[in-house]
């Protein structure tokens, strides 16, 4: 590992959560505007995390603190891996491990809502991980390697033209990872849902603040991987990520009553079939 890679990794470690917080702020402002409200200030997610950090409350289970910290480490590690140009598949698996730690912590809690949320988190993993994996395989097939830097300068032509069919799948991943849609997902971003706060129900105070930071890091990883679709320059990558984010916000606002069963039975199979068709097409070319 040379020194530049090291600096990039450190930059990823520090900037990714900050960017994630900013994305959360943009999300809340844009959502409010779509609903003809004014919405909170852009920095609101940072205030929320600061507030949670200053609240001291005993954990629902002694194991939770440990799982939260592991989830945070895994989420930040996936950002660092991408920034350092490591294997994108590795980053994908580390990111999935983070989600599993959150679910394990929730299973330790005493609230039935927390356990129900943890089960849904596992269903969710089952639904989007295969799609995400196939999308990454498509990108690797075209760029000829699995490391992030190859994805970013694969060719003069954006990867999107070779893999239009993975776009619905990636959009689905962004929606789920933003905890946006379906509304009864494991821990909906919308505070009032049928399982209170799902996996997050039993986490409170500092643990919850750390989980929120882990969530920001996750969102950055997913948007970053989406931005590989048009990685001709930094500006085009940011623009691609912004398009995915905005599309997810619009879908969330126009489909307020999608349920997780619909996600598992309809959205996941269709997007997986489309993405797999794209992969086969790339192999047959």
């Amino acid at each position: 590992m040379n020194l530049t890679t090291f600096y990039l990794a450190v930059a990823g470690l520090i900037l990714a959560p900050l960017l994630g917080g900013l994305v959360a702020g943009v999300d809340r402002v844009v959502t409010a505007r779509l609903q003809s409200r004014m919405g909170p200030p852009l920095m609101q997610p940072f205030y929320d995390v600061g507030k949670l950090w200053s609240k001291v409350i005993p954990p629902a289970s002694n194991w939770q603190g440990l799982f939260v910290r592991w989830a945070l480490v895994a989420s930040l590690a996936s950002d660092v891996l991408l920034a350092a140009g490591a294997d994108v598949l590795m980053c994908f698996f580390v990111q999935a491990a983070s989600a599993s730690f959150v679910a394990l912590g929730a299973f330790c809690g005493s609230s039935p809502y927390s356990k129900l949320g943890a089960q849904r988190e596992l269903f969710q993993l089952l639904a989007y991980e295969p799609v995400f994996l196939v999308a990454i395989l498509c990108m690797a097939k075209v760029s000829g390697a699995f490391d992030a830097y190859s994805f970013m300068n694969a060719s003069a032509q954006p990867l999107l033209f070779k893999m239009p069919l993975i776009v619905p799948g990636l959009l689905f991943v962004v929606l789920v990872k933003l905890r946006k849609s379906p509304f009864d997902i494991s821990a909906s971003h919308h505070m009032h849902q049928e399982v209170v706060r799902g996996v997050y129900t039993d986490y409170a105070g500092r643990d919850f603040a750390l989980l929120e930071i882990a969530h920001w890091a996750d969102v950055v990883v997913v948007l970053w991987i989406c931005s590989f679709l048009w990685a001709t320059s930094v500006v085009s990558m940011v623009a691609t990520a912004a398009v995915f984010l905005f599309a997810a916000l619009v879908i969330d606002n126009v489909s307020a009553r999608l349920t997780w069963r619909h996600m598992l039975k309809v959205v996941a199979p269709i997007s997986l079939v489309l993405a797999t068709a794209n992969l086969l097409w790339l192999y047959m070319e």
Partner: protein, 144 residues
């Protein structure tokens, strides 16, 4: 003030408990979330979990059955916390204060920081109560 203290004032998450309200005050409380009043511009979010809440908004009268639940919810909230009693019922028992099953207002069971009069209380008055409560919290934080 430090960032952590400022953020406590800028991010009040609110939990609404219907003690024994006729639903008049509940509708007015939920109206605060609509685009007309939009409390989210103050960073306020309506949460369903006392462990995440900073402000407890109670509507309606207290009776022997729900007094225990009210105490329970209050004790699950992390410190520092605010309690707002909404409506004539929440403040004093209102028109129901002489009923045999009514203990009275919310302050018979848990300490109340801000009282919102009205039957039902107006959304503007409820929002004003939250802002007043935050002013009180700011004083406490600055002194600490």
């Amino acid at each position: 003030m430090s960032f952590l203290k400022t953020s406590q004032i800028k991010s009040p998450w609110l939990m609404h408990f219907d003690c024994g309200s006729c639903n008049g005050c509940d509708i007015e409380t939920l109206a605060c979330l609509t685009p007309v009043y939009d409390v989210e511009r103050f960073g306020i979010i309506n949460v369903g979990n006392p462990r995440h809440a900073d402000v407890l908004v109670v509507t309606g009268t207290v009776n022997p059955r729900n007094a225990q639940i009210l105490k329970n919810i209050y004790s699950q909230m992390p410190d520092p916390k605010l309690v707002i009693a909404v409506g004539a019922c929440g403040c004093s028992g209102g028109v129901f204060r002489d009923a045999p099953n009514v203990l009275g207002g919310v302050d018979k069971v848990i300490p109340v920081d801000v009282y919102v009069p009205g039957c039902p209380a107006k959304p503007e008055a409820i929002m004003d109560a939250v802002v007043t409560g935050l002013g009180k919290l700011k004083g406490i934080l600055e002194a600490s």
